[in-house]
Symmetry: C2
Subunit: 353 residues, 2 copies
Amino acid sequence: RTLRIGLIPGDGIGKEVIPAGRRILEALPASLGLKFEFVHLKAGWETFEEQGVALPDETVSILKSDCDGALFGAVSSPTTAVKGYSSPIVALRKRLDLYANVRPVKTVVSAPKPIDMVIVRENTEDLYVKEETTRDTPDGKVAEAIKRISQRASSRIAAMAGEIALRRQKIRAAGSPSIHGRPLVTITHKSNVLSQTDGLFRSTAREALAAPRFGDVAVEEQIVDSMVYKLFRQPEAYDVIVAPNLYGDILSDGAAALVGSLGLVPSANVGEGFAIGEPCHGSAPDIQGQGIANPIATLRSAALMLEFLNEEAAAAKIYAAVDSNLEEGRLLSPDLGGSAKTEEVVQDILRRL
Amino acid sequence: RTLRIGLIPGDGIGKEVIPAGRRILEALPASLGLKFEFVHLKAGWETFEEQGVALPDETVSILKSDCDGALFGAVSSPTTAVKGYSSPIVALRKRLDLYANVRPVKTVVSAPKPIDMVIVRENTEDLYVKEETTRDTPDGKVAEAIKRISQRASSRIAAMAGEIALRRQKIRAAGSPSIHGRPLVTITHKSNVLSQTDGLFRSTAREALAAPRFGDVAVEEQIVDSMVYKLFRQPEAYDVIVAPNLYGDILSDGAAALVGSLGLVPSANVGEGFAIGEPCHGSAPDIQGQGIANPIATLRSAALMLEFLNEEAAAAKIYAAVDSNLEEGRLLSPDLGGSAKTEEVVQDILRRL
Ligand SMILES: CC(C)[C@H](C(=O)O)[C@@H](O)C(=O)O
Ligand SMILES: CC(C)[C@H](C(=O)O)[C@@H](O)C(=O)O
């Protein structure tokens, strides 16, 4: 099988880590029977400066018509609002209907307090519909935004969370060491305040997860503020957490804080038959150009993309090579307290593939 | 000066901790020249079951016309939406225009990683305006909620954050041990997505904090997801954090997770010349009736209420007595790993007053 992968480095260290993602895909053992073709695509702040748009239509149309998946690096965004600029990854999620953002957060199994969870974030609605208005009143300006929650989007994201919980269970059953027993999905919401919107998310998710195929999956709920509290206090208790867009955004970063560095944490933006891997760190202008960015978030994002393209064996190879580099702990980038360059980390991991 | 204080125990352990709050106020040294009168008021789930409303009008009108401040315990809320029930504390905040929720989170100074921050949460608007609608579509139900941000509310909450930063600085200058140098206010928002609503919060807060009286206060910003990340990774870096209602709700619980137990964390709901102290724990039905609830969150909430009624000397006495109990660590409630009863903790702290 040949997979065509779009490469969208973006800005800053995005340009240093995406090539690493490409190399690990190319280095996968031939026995897997996978071939890759790469398409270079533009997006981000530099693109905006050149072309006046942060996400050129060409990038979207090539991804749509010509790619099986993609790797997205990171983009710099202006610190104050700039007319015409809006986040290309947010736009990509919407235009390709990548309705789920999936973020696994995992320590090595030998960590003193091992954690192994996945945040499954709805990616298309909630406050991210960006329908805002502002009016002047005698008391000054008043701005409003719409938070939209639909049964359709809530149902499919909950079903995806259920599928991910089952897949994780299967991988554990195949002998992968784990801290979890029965698969668990935790539904996060704030229906004690937002009884209609978050209430709809909650009841729809409950319903979706009550389907017979999720018979083995335990289902729980947490109010979002309490979820953040528990995330810090008992992270080991969570397996799969599903949440509307904004809470998912916040929980994803909170979960990332539980492991050593953002440089370790991958994500995938997933739709029907399409996935974009995306490291969860930003463009990091402070270290750009020094060749010291941690490539691991991108390598894991490439693996995660493969999982959602049904290439689980290939994904497993990459995960194992990364884990082995981390378990040994000899060649680590500066964010992990080491002094290895991006290139050295990549070579060490390729060697273990 | 005589202060009239409303006592609203609510449900569950609220009934066990609010009496402790009363006792510490009564035990304050006569030299402070403070007298207290108490008014017993109803709110909560039991009240709802008795009267069909969770917050009787009488409670609101007595607080308005007859009290200087109040202590609110905790209320149980139904696990599924119950017609006619809505959270009394949310309603109280709105009806008394208690526009700020203030939550100090502090470890003892001798902690290995000392933390000393205050979350200042806007308390009247954002998604908490609870304007929701639901419609049926061919694809199923779609619900919407309004997120409202006004210049007026953003400005006054930012100004309060600035005042709190200055007051903390004054207390430090008076010799209280501290981990902070220059006062710092961190504005939290998500204006990279919500350019109008959160954009208005951000620019208004910036403007309010640019007033000459805040000349000594450093001002920073954090996007809310990154704020949660930093809260976990570098909590010692933060002094005063100001946020719109919902982010403030989430950050308050996140910050509370940084200290040993919710049983330690106080809050105050503050308006013009009125403050309600409120422990940040819930009604805890699992331990209710056992006499083992930690009273410290309530004692500190009583002190915080006094601060906002301009009785800082009285507040300082309570804080010191609580800190001394915790520093010694001999009489601790079960949530802190001890085995002391509520009554024993209260007596120990009264003794140190
Ligand atoms: C950059 C920003 C718009 C984005 C989001 O909020 O979705 C980011 O935080 C993310 O999680 O990818
Ligand atoms: C109970 C709930 C409605 C409330 C809120 O969200 O404000 C609580 O979380 C709080 O912080 O006091």
